[in-house]
Amino acid sequence: MLPDNLRDHAVAAALAAFDAGATTGGKFERGELTLEIAPARIAGVCGFLKHDQNFVRLSSVTAVDRYPAEPRFEVVYHLHSIQPYGRLRLKCRLSGAKPEIESVTAVWRSADWYEREVFDLFGIVFRGHPDLRRIMLPEDWEGHPLRKDYPVTGSRV
């Protein structure tokens, strides 16, 4: 459910009208709006935001590892509307056991490389991605360096 303090934000209200169960939380801090989205609804929500709310650009996709907390991963999407100017952050929480979420490549083609990067460095799987393979690291690399339990320095024993 959309928190009451976010009802004044047109985008949040429109999204709630489109799919009442999609928004599970959110906040407005430092002039930036964040909406937490139920992971299963992400592709539908993004399609709506692009086509109905003018978020023509996907600026970036990234993730945050909250290890050892659960749900462990946050997948973060930054959307950009050019006219009128606006930015919006979407966040989906995924469990550490099997982090998987639907790809948004069908909504914005730019998600292709962004999601590959998150897959490569965090090990989060994007279902329905046309070409999900590592992008920064070699194909035979073990592990996902941006996870918090991956060491910063050290050698293999």
Binding site: S60, T62, V64, H78, H80, S110, Y114, M136
Partner: protein
């Protein structure tokens, strides 16, 4: 059928094609001079036509985003220089603004103006390297020498300010690293006074040059819809007729107080991107001049070292997250900084323009001549450090 070793490309063996045409696989890079760093393009050719192009990146991946997590906020400034090494001060600026936003810190107007001036000199530096190397790729050797003549002066100015030519780390959270050096005002004034005439010289060499026009007009076309969808930003969008510029759309560091134009072209080809960037150089020079002449610059410069207190005392950044976007010479540069309330960032993600722009390469070059590929990728102005991080 044989595997090329590149995922996504399966090459037909010689003599086995359906059309009789010989397809071949060409590896451009990772050390090809025209790929400007370590980019590899696996290109499938039918004669001289590119039928498929698969960019392969990551050769310069250094795990910078991971490194942020083990540095203090202030130490991490030095990492940002090394991402887009042709525009270090733009990266410094984006990162510092993001952390300052988390801290709720407004830096003094003098420091803001100084930041604007140096960031615009950075844009000139970056555009000069782009123009020089882009022209050289297409065979116009002379332009390179002219561009590097002016770039050298900019690097000397950076060295004067920070002690470093490239990895300046001159912006710090809370202000600037050092007091501006004695004589800086005159030095920059002398440079910027003569700079517009230097741009005229580059234009004399290229703008009406028949070979240049032949190699760039109508080449590397892309529609605006494709570019927005594929994540392209910056001068390439402006060359396709979209008036988009973070300095205007969501001003930061006092850009709203400066008077400048956002150059627009509509042809969306290599030539239009050239025209946009050349005009941007003139506009950046205008901004530098306004900063120099501004009242803000006539006040005591000691006030700039505002950050001294927070550096000596150390600081914790309140919990939260911000996404700060600035207009780098290459396009949209976004810093997503997450704080958990400690002295080091919990997570920093850099949305870099080169990464987004490069993604559009296949769309731009597939179906065109291999020779035009060089002109097309040159017009994207990417930096591999910026792409791979």
């Amino acid at each position: 059928m044989s595997e090329s070793g590149v995922p996504g490309i399966t090459v037909l063996e010689t003599g086995q094609t359906e059309t009789g045409a010989r397809r071949m696989l060409l590896n451009m890079g990772p050390q090809h001079p025209s790929t400007h760093g370590v980019l590899r393009l696996a290109v499938e050719l039918d004669g001289e036509i590119v039928t498929k192009c698969v960019p392969d990146i990551g050769y310069l991946h250094t795990g910078i985003e991971k490194e942020f997590e083990v540095k203090t906020y202030q130490q991490a400034v030095t990492l940002t220089d090394r991402v887009d090494y042709l525009a270090p001060l733009s990266n410094n600026l984006g990162y510092c603004l993001a952390v300052e936003k988390l801290l709720g810190l407004e830096i003094p107007p003098q420091a803001q103006w100084m930041r604007v001036m140096l960031t615009e000199l950075t844009r000139l530096n970056s555009h000069l390297v782009w123009l020089g190397t882009h022209a050289m790729d297409i065979g116009a050797m002379t332009v390179f020498l002219y561009c590097f003549r002016e770039r050298e002066e900019i690097l000397k100015i950076f060295e004067m300010f920070s002690g470093q030519r490239m990895m300046t780390s001159y912006f710090r959270i809370g202000g600037l690293a050092l007091e501006p050096p004695r004589g800086w005002h005159q030095r920059i004034k002398t440079f910027i006074d003569s700079f517009p005439s230097k741009v005229d010289e580059y234009e004399d060499l290229l703008t009406t040059n028949r070979i240049w026009i032949g190699r760039t007009k109508g080449v590397g076309r892309m529609t605006l819809e494709d570019m927005l969808d594929l994540g392209v930003t910056g001068p390439m969008l402006r060359a396709a007729g979209l008036k988009i510029d973070a300095r205007r759309d969501d001003p930061y560091t006092s850009y709203e107080k400066f008077d400048f134009e956002i150059p627009i072209r509509t042809e969306s080809d290599v030539y239009a991107r050239y025209q946009v960037r050349v005009e941007e150089m003139r506009q950046s020079a205008r901004i530098v001049r306004q900063a120099l002449d501004g009242e803000k610059m006539k006040t005591q410069m000691e006030a700039l070292i505002y950050h001294f207190k927070i550096v000596t005392e150390g600081f914790r950044v309140p919990e939260g997250e911000v996404y700060q976007v600035i207009e780098s010479p290459r396009g949209e540069l976004g810093f997503y900084v997450v704080s958990d309330g400690t002295t080091s960032p919990y997570r920093v993600h850099m949305r870099t323009p080169s990464f987004g722009n490069l993604q559009a390469t296949p769309r731009m070059v597939e179906g065109t001549l291999i020779a035009d590929t060089i002109a097309s990728i040159g017009s994207m102005d990417f930096v591999l450090g910026d792409t791979d991080r």
